[in-house]
Subunit: 360 residues, 2 copies
Amino acid sequence: MATIYDVARIAGVSPKTVSRVLNGDAPVGQATREAVQAAIAQLDYVPSNAARMMRSQRSGLIGLITGAISMSPEPNQPAGLPELFIVQGIQKSLANSGMTLMIADTGGVVEKAAPLIDTFLRHRVEGLIYVAEYHQKVALPVISDGTPMILANCFDDRGTPAILPDDKRGQLDLVARLITAGHRRIGYLTLRPEIAAGRLRLEGYRAALQAGGIAYDAALVENCDLEGRDGETQLLWEAIDRMLRLANSPTVFCCGNDKMALRVYGILRSMGRKVPTEVSVAGYDNYRVIAETLYPPLTTVDLPYTAMGVRAAQRLMAMISEETREDKGPTLVAGPVYWRDSVTELRPANVSLLKSVREE
Amino acid sequence: MATIYDVARIAGVSPKTVSRVLNGDAPVGQATREAVQAAIAQLDYVPSNAARMMRSQRSGLIGLITGAISMSPEPNQPAGLPELFIVQGIQKSLANSGMTLMIADTGGVVEKAAPLIDTFLRHRVEGLIYVAEYHQKVALPVISDGTPMILANCFDDRGTPAILPDDKRGQLDLVARLITAGHRRIGYLTLRPEIAAGRLRLEGYRAALQAGGIAYDAALVENCDLEGRDGETQLLWEAIDRMLRLANSPTVFCCGNDKMALRVYGILRSMGRKVPTEVSVAGYDNYRVIAETLYPPLTTVDLPYTAMGVRAAQRLMAMISEETREDKGPTLVAGPVYWRDSVTELRPANVSLLKSVREE
DNA sequence: TTCTCTTATGACACCGATGACATGACACCG
DNA sequence: CGGTGTCATGTCATCGGTGTCATAAGAGAA
């Protein structure tokens, strides 16, 4: 591999002049510049980042760690990868910063994060971003040197800067919109409360009911999330069946996420209930493969992953450049409601009509 | 940031001895080793890859370029990312090689591949892998130095080593299995022929019919792929409607991919046709979010992405270590058929029964 | 006892860039 | 015409490791 010395020799100049042509950090004569460029082309010279980095003490690298790329191949694991949008947002936002993004993957194994961080530190990255597969708490090894770090889609109890989806707000907005559309009996098939999204979305649901002056009814809320284990369809079927048999049955089912909504579509249709004319369905995540492809398209709440990625990158760049390394705590990012055809607008007039249809 | 000299000073040894402790490439006395390790821990010393690399002339890096991570945010673009399994396969296979995988992303913009390759060459990667979003032909800039390169899920006309899914074989296997199950009238809602998968899968379909002694009927094959533009559901609806009105209508619909199958489920149900008792459906891709979550689960063909990734990594490592840099041409990898509940096993006896049901 | 041989360690140069500093050639100014 | 800037370019040291070679201290062998 050709070096800057080879180029200098061919061009008949000093290595330093070649360096100046490459970096444009000092004036170079026109003729000299052209000779150098010709020599570079002739030799297919590519400068060595390692050497440059040693001298300048700047790597221009940002390290990104994610389990998003290679999630578990187990059939029961969540197979959705929408969090990749976070990476996309980060990239977009970093594109003009002159930084190179290096992505490494834990393969879904959290323990691999530590060695990957180490690898990045060996490469002297100027900042680190850890992207989690879903909104959760994490405990990463402490970065002993001053390299700034950002958590995306996760948080820890050390106050490390974090970018999080505003799940409570999202569910609140969705349910508020359902209430506006005339729905009063709102079933909620929840995610398990062990995960952050499960808790926060339920909080949002309750907050929206309260804001709308609707009493919370425990019979309309069931956890239908088996953590990917079998029997989820069964569980959903039974929960839906129970709710539909209620005297005052729900006019809409909110689902913990879009994947659950996909299942609910199948179940409702198997029960002979038409979506949305007889019963409405809403999801969460705006997982587009599902939400846009379903028939009818699914009303849902966007998880603002791209925006989160952009925020993460911006906050990291601020920490790097402004030495604001004392920056702490979470940033919440809310996503919009996507109103699609899976939810009927109930004017008060035909609420009773609908009921009579169902009760016959 | 502490250097090897700092460690050496604290430990009271020479830098070279610290290096020996780190790399284990020469015997070091027990007491010395412990002193060095203590100093390393005390200083939070992390060796610099750049310096190491300069001297040893080996980067230990593999560069991976993909558009998989940040595909277009346009709503009409393909939003499926199963090709990330390729990356997973590569990682798995590279994990024990001592190589570090650096992933960079084109953001879906092919033109960005060239600067990314350049960045990788500056880092002196020992090998390059390009992963395409879907089975396609590409034209990447020539790598002028000897760095080996592998194409995954794509190919070029320079004979660059490539790893490809065997789409023809997969569709053939699926249709052959349908024939075994007693299906004789097999509708095929195809992808557009402009893409490799569209062509090859149709070839497989025809080859299977021929092998099964069934005449090809053009009325049973329609292109229902609008390249993501609107109206696809409409197009599918009409195609399905036409085929179902045929005197000898299909007992099963093969879909160009699983996403199309998801649409077809919705359409068939809206038409009042039960899946699979009245009509069967099969997909392609084994896109698990869809195939496993649909109700009933979808029969489909696996795209052996993980296996392709493993192959790609293996072939690359062979090129790197064995200097087999003259390696050329494609490797085809076939995936298995996943037989699930969306297809009925028709024993010859009840074929006629089914027909009468449909004709009433 | 002297001569290998192995183990344990250090001295020093070098990998390929670039920062700091120096120098020579002009141009412009008063 | 000397002084002062700017432009264009070169010299040299240096970043942080590691390869090469040298050396010293014991352990066995002859």
